[in-house]
Amino acid sequence: MARIGVFVCHCGENIGRTVDCPEVSRRAALLRDVFYSVDYKYMCSDPGQNMIKDAIREHGLTGVVVASCSPLMHEKTFRRAVTEAGMNPFLCEIANIREHCSWVHEDRKAATDKALDLIRIMVEKVKHNVALESIRIPVTKKALVIGGGIAGIQAALDIADGGKEVILVEKSPSIGGHMAQLSETFPTLDCSQCILTPKMVSANTHKNIKLYTYSEVEKVSGYIGNFQVTIRKKARYIDESVCTGCGICQEKCPVKKIPSEFNEGLGMRKAIYVPFPQAVPNKPVIDREHCTKFINGKCGACEKLCGPKAIRFDQTDSFITEDIGAIVVATGYDLYTIDKKTDNTLKGYGEYGYGKYPDVVSGLQFERLVSASGPTYGELKRPSDGKTPETIVFIQCVGSRDAAKGVSYCSKICCMYTAKHTMLYKHKVHNGKAFVFYMDIRAGGKNYDEFVRRAIEEDGAVYLRGRVSKISQEDGKLVVMGADTLSGAQVEIKADMVVLATAIAAQPDIVPLAQKLGVGYDQYHFLSEAHPKLRPVETNSAGIFLAGACQAPKDIPEAVAQASAAASKVLGLFSSLELEREPYVAKVNENTCSGCEFCLMACPYNAIERREIKNRRGEVIKTVSYVNEGKCQGCGTCVSICRSKSIDLMGFTDEQVYSQINAMFV
């Protein structure tokens, strides 16, 4: 006979305010097979958990129902508690009377009745729970980091320092990401190259890190601890092992006029190029679209002049498959496109003339202009005529906080880097005038606000609180028309250059990768973390972690912090020999299975195989389906496809679901 214990939590007053917990506990005690029912203010606290443990020992409970918050929150906590009291963890179920009841209903009576219903449903389920043991599966002690920006590099280094192998995959020819494009970084103005390059070099030389640049993740299969990842190494048309990185080929390549992606289109690069001087690996890549050898078979200058003969025009994409235990996604961000969209939907900021007036540039373009490794070698020259701009207007929130024309969220870092831009500008052009149009300055980090005050007070940046309505060009000058809401006046500034602090957006091609990994994403294609506050670097797919701007706009300190957090999660996962996985796997009843293999065909994980049942003489009596527990993820598709219900999913068995439905509307 089942002896069930019901433990109703007030959750402070989160539940108690709308659900009459003592009443619920009293009525729960009257439920069939419930032998102990109590309510307490904080069931997940130690006294609360001890109350459960004592009740199990004293009343010899065979099943526990905790009526509290969502199982996704504290199921593990309560299951650990009952285990300590000697009860199998899977005999404890959670009735969600907070997120699904007290928080979403106001009528006290209806909420209390519903809470009791939810408890009754779970009591009926628990009576059919079976003691299960967690499934142990081996863990491949090798991690994959996707994205070679600062977040990816930091995560790779931390994992490698933890003694585990790491595969670092970077889509572009060199690691470094957007940080490599920056000149100096806030709030300390130390040059990004100086603090980044050492990490890039150690990432390249670390004995535990294998670097695949100019490569992308092609296919991901398997599950936590047992991923199989296929990486597409795009053809560089250079044999990296032979090339010494001497740079002759780049000098002599006749094709010059290709806008450099690294320089955000301001500088030019050759058909064979290394993105930037401190690139790691310092091996060039041949750009197939623009290289005359590929276009009409002529030239081949680089091949002739290459000392160690490292040019391979016949090279093709190669595929490498790696066994991976955990994956860290650190694919970073991209700038929100603000010029006229290609499919000329009339979004975008045509009124600022970005793409029409050459002197209207994006934040990253400005970074390149002031960067020593930039197209103007650190001399601030405006793109149209190379003159040094006397007046620059910086416009904040271009695309951010603008649900109508752009994105509705705040991109978090633009206030800081715009203040930095004004400082860099004043350091280079002492008598230059810098104007900043802003809505609110958000500088919440350590020494952040002081940094902005310094830009205003010491470096004399003029901050105008208002929006810019239009930028037009009048005889070589950019006429910026805007408002200054503090003085209430229309403002018109004749500027030499305008820098737009465009919004931070997700990488344009992140969605196919997210779908390959089975990771969720929100409507702006930022990857979804498991829990915004409590599990920011984990995802709902076990074994896949997030770091950096791919999860949401953030600055370098936060990206690095997340990278180390993700790395610690990976190292935690790798610390145990075997991984314990919830025993929610399917099991076949071989007596009634007729071997029609519908489940085998439907299983998304190919976790079901054919098995022959033989008699003593070795003759095959019948063939049935067999579930490989390692592969089965417990989705249950097979259970509903099986017509004779010969396969059942532990944890959500037919009997459990049946009894729950029976108890729904009593």
Partner: protein, 285 residues
């Protein structure tokens, strides 16, 4: 036609090529035929084939105990519509092609009782699709007898919800749960049918309104995308409940939604075990 049948059966049995031959024999009632499973050449004399041979003999390939043994195949006389059942059974791994020696019968249409069987009126396959031996000369494929085999289904579809409910409640009220429809269906081969399972009892096994409704719903759903329209369930139901209407409705929907016809290809994946990205979902919010 009957003596060619006897010759083939006699030959197969006497040469020992097959373990048994399943065919039709003279019935004890007017307009009826019996099934005969002959194991010796002598019994082959009793085989016949006439317009009353409406039974689908494929049902024996899964229901008869010990009929299929590994060393020698079992021979069976199959009309083209019955061959569709064998195709479905092979597709669902209940049979291997080499276990069955198919004697194809070209068919002009058979009678159920004294009137043309429903399934024949809409039939468009008169010659066996594949076979190991064939009896009867090829029949030129002619347009199916009636214009639209789904006429009755459409008639019910056009009723109002309440009319449809009343129509089916009246039909299901007659059901006494003898499960003849299940036993007569070649594709109902489960070792233990869901209706016989008690832990949990998904389908109430008593013959009351709830039990009857859920039995007929689950039976129709379990045959969705599988039923080849052999009409045996209709014929076996002595209460004349129009069961094949439910199966034809499922067949029509599956064909309209996913363009799949059951019993056509032994290698095809059954529609409910796969999906396409562009499957219709206009009913999902």
């Amino acid at each position: 036609m009957s003596n060619d049948i006897r010759q083939i059966a006699h030959a197969l049995l006497s040469e020992g090529k097959v373990s048994s031959v399943i065919g039709y024999a003279e019935g004890s009632l007017k307009g009826r035929v019996q099934t005969l499973i002959a194991h010796t050449a002598r019994e082959a004399e009793k085989f016949i084939f006439n317009e009353n041979c409406v039974n689908n003999l494929a049902v024996y390939l899964t229901k008869s105990y010990g009929l299929i043994n590994k060393d020698k195949p079992a021979a069976v006389f199959l009309k083209p519509c019955d061959i569709k059942s064998v195709t479905a059974l092979i597709q669902e791994h209940q049979l291997r092609r080499e276990d069955v020696f198919i004697i194809g019968l070209s068919c002009q249409g058979v009678k159920n009782g004294n009137v043309m069987a429903g399934k024949c009126m809409g039939c468009s396959i008169h010659n066996p699709q594949y076979y190991d031996a064939i009896v009867g000369e090829t029949v030129e494929e002619k347009e199916p007898g009636i214009s639209d085999p789904f006429a009755k289904v459409k008639e019910i579809e056009n009723m109002t919800t309440q009319e449809r409910w009343d129509f089916w409640m009246e039909q299901f009220d007659k059901c006494i749960r003898c499960y003849a429809c299940r036993q007569a269906c070649p594709l109902c081969y489960c070792e233990e049918c869901i209706v016989d399972k008690t832990q949990p009892r998904w389908i109430e096994s008593s013959s009351h309104p709830i039990g009857n409704l859920s039995w007929h719903l689950i039976r129709a759903f379990h045959l969705a995308g599988r039923c080849t329209g052999c009409g045996e369930c209709d014929r076996a139901c002595h209460q004349n409940i129009p069961l094949s209407l439910l199966n034809m409705k499922m067949g029509k929907e599956i064909f309209e939604l996913y363009g799949y016809r059951p019993g056509m290809d032994t290698e095809a994946k059954p529609p409910l075990t796969e999906f396409k990205m562009e499957d219709s979902e206009e009913f999902i919010r």
